[in-house]
Amino acid sequence: MNVATAPIVAAAPLNAAPLLEIENYSGSFRARNGDLTPVLYNVSLQLKTGVITAVVGETGSGKTLVASSILGIQPATFVRTSGRILLGGVDLVSLDEKGLRKIRGGQISMVFQDARAALNPMFTVGRQLADVHQRLHGSGKAEAMEAAVDAIRRVHIPEPARRARQYPHEFSGGMAQRAMIAMAALICEPQLLILDEPTTGLDVTIQSEIMDLILELSRSRGLTTCLITHDLGVVAATCEEVVVMNAGRVVETGSAETIFTAAKDGYTRKLLAASQLGEMAA
């Protein structure tokens, strides 16, 4: 019978040490005439080892800017005015392109909202996964392709060998997102996986399966996961820690249970009420 449930895997303890710490991170956008418009104000947050942390907020809250800063892929007009992003004691913001390249993929990998746009339309999905495997693990061509097919199988895409030979346009939105997760989580084998709105634009039935997959992979591999989202429903079903952002500031952080049952900040409460449409009260 198809009435299945999520696999039993223990969640990591919430008192785990942080893998990544953002301290007082502030920044501005530089206009063409040199004027600075502040957009992030003293953002501080921790991503604890083995924990799924959600960064939630509405349009313009700065959540994606924070995530892209971790990987050093923030827009060129963005300038840091203060603060640090620490991964194992190293400030990522101070790294040059060469240093960042060592971090990207290998230690931190990222999944974007639109998977079909993130994949290269000119190469087969299997080839793209294999290329990353070759580059990060120095494997041979055949071995890398084998790893790619295996990764595609492990994200529950049927007929993985055939699928690996297909191009991104032959994948549905949900399938393409699975392939991106296979690349980011299984091929890269990172310490930290960042997912930026991974299910926005997907149908709810597909969304819930992608979230189950993310939960399964991060639990079974003890992966530290950062989920950037505007959808508190997804957060309630998957995340352990929550960081709420509004207008460039972190307004509240806490365990998911605390945020959903005893939020202190006014904005968090408003966001919750708006997400629940005042109806879900028991």
Partner: protein, 347 residues
């Protein structure tokens, strides 16, 4: 099926087939629905279910392949463009993306005045007074009248789209994903506005949406679509608390709830939605449904009443043979276990 109220806009056996390379794409395939005066009927479904095409066929933005559409009992499909234009005053539409549906070169005033001039033939002074009245009705101020769409926020733009729709005092407004492009806090305000206007102006809505939480909040009745057909239709409270069709159940059980400790029993369909090209004459869920029987492949199930004004197109549900396992819907009381993660509650 007995539905209370007076039907204002009705569709009967509505079909829209698009020719594609090697066959026919079944966008809408035999849809019957009644939109009641002053009430909201929600049309829900996932991408590709045909819900937007239904909305567009009802106002003949897309010409249906076959079927009938009645406005207040009169068929509008045979009307020529002049007579049809007259009917448009009674049926208006609000679109998902106000960026695309508002003319960037027209001020709010010009946008609101145009339908008044075209449909109601108002003179200049009455138009201006009406435009002022409209912006205030949708929660904007007269200062907004001179703005262009790019000077407005997303929520304000959608308010203008709503004002334009209600400007000509329609009986029915077709809302095609009116809040999908908005942040949740703005979404709530727009929904409040829509419900407020419905009460004030006695509007009937066809609310097309994929957002189940929103649908539950605003609609009186809900129709669930899958691959071009309605699989279940009934009062919103009933469909959400006792969904019958396997697809409705799968859909509702997948919708996330922004609340801690909500217990969900998932019903999963295997695979993904099949291609809508050259659909066979069977239940559209064959191959994905966990309850499927040989009877499902014999013919395409029709909507059959299982209760007063609640109908389901599923022979298995109707036969009630070895009924599917009891299902806990979204309306079920959330059971909170201290400290437990919701994902571990669904074991």
């Amino acid at each position: 099926m007995i539905v209370e109220g007076r039907p204002i806009l009705q569709a009967r056996n509505l079909r829209k087939l698009f020719p594609v390379g090697r066959g026919m794409l079944f966008a809408v395939d035999g849809v019957d629905l009644d939109i009641m005066a002053g009430q909201t009927l929600a049309l829900v479904g996932e991408s590709g279910s045909g819900k937007s095409t239904v909305g567009r066929c009802l106002v003949r933005l897309i010409e249906p392949t076959s079927g009938e559409v009645f406005l207040d009992g009169r068929s509008i499909l045979g009307l020529n463009s002049v007579l049809l234009a007259r009917q448009y005053r009674r049926v208006q539409m609000v679109f998902q993306d106000p960026n695309a549906s508002l003319n960037p070169r027209m001020t709010v005033r010009q946008t609101l005045i145009e339908p008044l001039r075209l449909h109601l033939k108002m003179n200049r002074r009455t138009r201006e007074a009406r435009a002022r009245e409209l912006v205030e009705m949708v929660g904007l101020t007269t200062a907004h009248l001179d703005r262009y769409p790019n000077e407005l926020s997303g929520g304000q733009r959608q308010r203008v789209g709503i004002a334009r729709a209600v400007a000509v005092e329609p009986d029915v407004v077709i809302l095609d994903e009116p809040t999908s492009s908005l942040d949740v806090s703005v979404r709530g305000q727009i929904l409040d506005l829509l419900m407020d206007l419905q009460a004030k102006l006695n509007l009937a809505y066809l609310f097309i949406s994929h957002d189940l939480q929103v649908v539950r909040h605003v609609s009186h009745r809900v129709a669930v679509m899958y691959l071009g057909g309605i699989v279940e239709i009934g009062p919103t409270a009933k469909v959400f608390s006792e969904p019958k069709h396997p697809y409705t159940r799968a859909l509702l059980s997948a919708a996330p709830v922004a609340k801690w400790g909500v217990k969900r029993t998932r019903l999963r369909l295997s695979g993904e939605i099949s291609s809508p090209i050259d659909l066979p004459d069977t239940c559209r869920l064959v191959g994905r449904c966990p309850f499927q029987q040989p009877v499902c492949s014999e013919a395409r199930p029709k909507l059959v009443d299982i209760d007063q004004d609640h109908a389901v197109a599923c022979p298995i549900v109707l036969a009630k043979t070895e009924g599917p396992p009891p299902f806990v819907g979204l309306l079920a009381t959330p059971s909170v276990t201290a400290g437990a993660h919701p994902a571990t509650l669904t074991q």
